[in-house]
Structures are given as structure tokens and as C-alpha cells.
């Protein structure tokens, strides 16, 4: 499923206009993204939690060419599925 299908399914399930469903889905995603960009954790009971981990930069090598490359420090988000989601997927 992709985002527009998600929006349409939500609109149908609650009998609301697709524009309204779209505003809900987009604000939902924006709030999560904003929190993670700010370095905050996100916890959605029953679904899962997100947190951002920071990685230091390092000097690496391109394994093919042997060329030295600088890998910049980076921040990556991690998702941990909640208990309910895990159980739901396996039932």
C-alpha cells in the first residue's frame, strides 16, 4: 500500500472527503518527522516507537577501487514495532 491508498482507505472508512483524510495523514507524518528531526523519541502505543541514532563520521575505503572516502557523521531513525503490531502480524 502507498500513501494515496492509505488516504483513500481512511476517507472511505470514516466517510470523509479525501482532502480531509489527506490533511490528517500528512499532519500525522509531519508530526513524527518533526519530532525525529528535533531529536525526540516517538512512541505510538500498539504500533511502535521511533528514535534517532547518531553516528560519528569516519574515513572509509571504497572496497572496489581502494579509494579513501570520508564518511560524514549522520543521523538515522530506528523503528521498534510494538507488542500489538508484532502479535497482529503473527496471528
Amino acid at each position: 500500500m502507498n500513501k494515496s491508498e492509505l488516504i483513500n482507505t481512511l476517507a472511505e472508512s470514516r466517510d470523509i472527503h479525501a482532502d480531509e483524510a489527506s490533511a490528517v495523514v500528512n499532519s500525522f507524518i509531519d508530526s513524527i518527522k518533526q519530532a525525529l528531526v528535533d531529536g525526540d523519541r516517538v512512541e505510538i502505543r500498539g504500533f511502535g516507537s521511533f528514535k534517532v541514532k547518531g553516528y560519528k563520521g569516519y574515513t572509509g575505503r571504497n572496497p572496489k577501487s581502494g579509494e579513501v572516502v570520508n564518511v560524514a557523521p549522520k543521523r538515522l531513525p530506528f523503528f521498534r514495532p510494538g507488542k500489538e503490531l508484532k502479535e497482529f502480524l503473527n496471528k
Binding site: 502507498n2 482507505t9 505510538i44 503490531l85 502480524l89
Partner: protein
Amino acid sequence: MSGKTLTKAEIVDYIYEKTEKNRAEVKVLVDNLLEIMKQAIKRDNSLLISGFGKFDAYDKRARKGRNPQTSDSIVLPPRKVVVFRLSRKFRAELNPDEEL
């Protein structure tokens, strides 16, 4: 890192401020949305949210494990696990100085 945690209640508040719906309605919509997301991950093994990322569910085979406390050998059953892969766009937003 500010050490804060965004919860469902705060997500509901955020959406409430962006839409013309009342709080109770927004809460129902968010619960519905999460339910649809869960169903989609289960049914399609994949939920792609452009600009954010993708939830991928995949099957893990049964494997032998051990209870670390008693060191009894046990068989862990096959199960489905879900991972989140972030989109390039979101990665760039988290790392504004990074060159890709």
C-alpha cells in the same frame, strides 16, 4: 537531544490544530489510520509512505535458540518481523549537511 517523547495524544493535538475537526474526531481518525497501517503491513507486507519511508514485513524462519538463563535448547518459531526503511528525502531532512 532534548529527551522528549512524542506520544499519540500529542500527535492528535498537532492534527487537531491543523484541521477543522474536534479532538475526539481526530482521535478516532488517528486510531483508524493506525489500524489501516497495521492491516496494510500484514496484507501487503509493505507500506510505502513517500517522503517518510517504508515499512517492510518479512518472514523469519524457525531457528534454534537457547534460554540464556537455563541454557535449555529451544526452537524459536517462524515469525514475521517488520522493519522501517527511511526515504532519501527524509534522510536528507535529518542530515541537512550530508552530501548524497
